[in-house]
């Protein structure tokens, strides 16, 4: 018998620990690909904001060694538009749907959380506290005070499960994770993309319209893995590992480091079947190593347990 991939992410029951990273997946039922979202442990949606937003001026993408920069800037239909799409499209999925919210103030986070926490389609809320591409440049997950305020505001606004998504651009990720936990987050998700820049040496200016962007993809995997390893040793709530996961081996490394689930982002752009391959690969690893459940390997590479 093949190993059991079912696992628990706080109060959420997942059929496997693999889900897309916010902003790195979508579903167009009328133009469907070879891959149905219901194969996934959960679906994490692109971040949404309270007001509609256009997103950043092009160029929004730049390729980098083993990765890419993006400066998308969260184009969003706003709360109302998003709610419609949620009800009309995402409600059709059987797998848990995690909505991601992004905001400019604790109050905005609270409104989004209160409204979306009520939606039956929303199994959990991911709080994007770490978008590197917004115009004011303030990243709540970089500021201990603002971070606490935002997470507390969300906590007060909803009973829904909340996941705090943190930024790697900090001196002490453990501090930020601990603040999120004590402010009421039910889970921690890390890492978001890392601030970066590419310059066009012929045009003599940054490639991205916005100057800087967020670095993602395999290049950042070792950075993400170190942070996940550290945070898993410091908080009690479950941790979702994300950053550069592109093969089953990578996902397994995050689980061994202590993550309860993983998110897969950039690699899906290159290989839209990557998540399916990762799910299959985890099962094969468990089988070949003689484990009966994916939960058996969580944290096995830790020296502190």
């Amino acid at each position: 018998m093949s190993a059991d991939l079912r696992c628990q992410l706080g109060r959420l029951s997942l059929k496997n620990p693999v889900m897309p990273a916010s902003g790195c997946f979508d579903w167009y039922p009328e133009h469907d690909g070879p891959f149905h979202p219901d194969e996934l442990g959960a679906v994490v949606l692109k971040s949404t904001t309270l007001q509609p937003r256009d997103g950043n001026i092009p160029i929004r993408l730049a390729e980098t060694p083993s990765g890419m920069l993006n400066a998308i800037g969260i184009p969003s239909y706003g709360l109302e538009g998003f709610r419609t799409i949620l009800r009309e499209k995402w409600s059709r999925l059987k797998t848990p749907v995690i909505a991601s919210i992004s905001a400019f103030t604790p109050e905005e986070y609270a409104i989004l959380a209160r409204e979306l926490g009520k939606e039956p389609t929303v199994a959990a809320l991911e709080i994007n506290l770490s978008c590197p591409n917004l115009e004011h440049g303030v990243i709540p997950a970089q500021d201990p005070v603002l971070l606490r305020e935002c997470v507390e505001a969300v906590r007060e606004a909803t009973e829904a499960m909340i996941i705090a998504k943190l930024s790697p651009n900090v001196t002490d990720i453990v501090e930020m994770a601990s603040i999120s936990e004590s402010a009421g987050a039910d889970a921690i998700c890390l890492i978001n993309s890392i601030r970066g820049m590419e310059i066009d040496i012929w045009k003599k200016k940054p490639i991205l319209g916005r100057g800087t962007g967020g670095l993602s993809g395999p290049a950042i995997k070792p950075i993400a893995l170190a942070m996940v390893y550290e945070v898993c040793g410091a908080v009690k709530v479950p941790v979702i590992g994300v950053g550069g996961i592109s093969r089953a081996e990578d996902a397994i490394a995050f689980l061994l480091a202590g993550a309860s689930a993983v998110q897969v982002g950039t690699i899906s752009f290159r290989d839209p079947l990557a998540m399916r391959k990762i799910i299959t690969g985890i099962r094969e690893y468990l089988d070949s190593e003689g484990y009966t459940s994916v939960t058996d390997i969580i944290g096995l590479a830790r020296t502190d347990t």
């Binding site: 692109k46 256009d54 950043n56 092009p58 160029i59 990765g67 184009p75």
Partner: protein, 256 residues
């Protein structure tokens, strides 16, 4: 409908002229679904560069399709190194197919260089459906007037190369229009300069101008929201080139 992500096999990969190549890829799963306007994401290498490359489809059968590409950077260099027999991953067909009705209509196709590529399937569809087609092709060299013979089978063709006198291929279009020739629509690809001229003519003579646009793409399938095209019309400021494009009404977009 829908797209696939599969392995194709390179069956031919020829140098045309200067930095331009033509590759044929055996890939029935995707070729069989192609329509005018479609493009694919290609990756014939392992490792670097990280992302696949978007390429318009120049020609397709039920079994295979052809892409004409210019070697620019690392990705297209790797593509040019892909020998027949090599596996190549293909995501496609992508983009919004051109579903215009051509019956009894006269259209002009204005292309420059590798930009000519996406026009051939449109020309074929128009001609098959009973429309008439005028093709105006421009390139650096005679050989780079890719598909000239194919366009000739479908209707009137005017060409212009940089080796010849320096005028715009669309000057010929202007002369035809001035002589009273009727046009329903023009499809432009590969030149901002020719596009401006066509827009001017479209306004003067009252026909619709369409343009094939390019923007950097990470995924080609609407996941990343990176391929934003700035809009002049409509409720949203940006449109995703890989989903809503790559063909746009010229008046609706800001072309940079």
């Amino acid at each position: 409908m829908g797209w696939q992500y599969v392995n194709g096999i390179v069956t031919a990969n020829h140098h045309i002229d200067e930095d331009v190549w033509r590759i044929e890829i055996h890939c029935p799963e995707i070729a069989g679904m192609c329509r005018p306007g479609h493009f694919v994401m290609l990756r014939s290498w392992q490792g670097e560069p990280f992302l696949p490359r978007p390429m318009a489809i120049f020609h397709y059968t039920n079994e295979s399709f052809d892409v004409v590409y210019k070697v620019k950077g690392f990705g297209t260099k790797m593509l040019a190194a892909a020998a027949p027999g090599r596996e190549i991953t293909v995501t496609g067909p992508l983009g919004s197919a051109v579903e215009h009705s051509y019956l009894g209509k006269t259209i002009a196709l204005v292309g420059r260089g590798v930009g000519i590529t996406p026009l051939l399937p449109v020309a074929k569809a128009a001609s098959e459906e009973g429309g008439s087609v005028i093709s105006l092709l421009s390139a650096r060299t005679e050989k780079l007037l890719v598909g000239k013979e194919d366009f000739e089978l479908l209707g009137e063709v005017h060409t212009q190369t940089d080796e010849q006198q320096h005028s715009r291929v669309t000057d010929k279009l202007e002369r035809l229009l001035n002589m009273g020739r009727h046009l329903d629509a023009v499809y432009v690809s590969g030149s901002k300069r020719l596009l401006s001229h066509c827009e001017e003519l479209g306004a003067r003579f009252g026909f619709q101008v369409y343009v094939f646009l390019e923007e950097r793409m990470a995924c080609g399938i609407g996941y990343c929201k990176g391929c934003a095209i700035e809009m002049r019309q409509g409720s949203r400021k940006y449109s995703l080139c890989c989903i809503q494009g790559p063909l746009y009404r010229a008046e609706s977009v800001v072309v940079i």
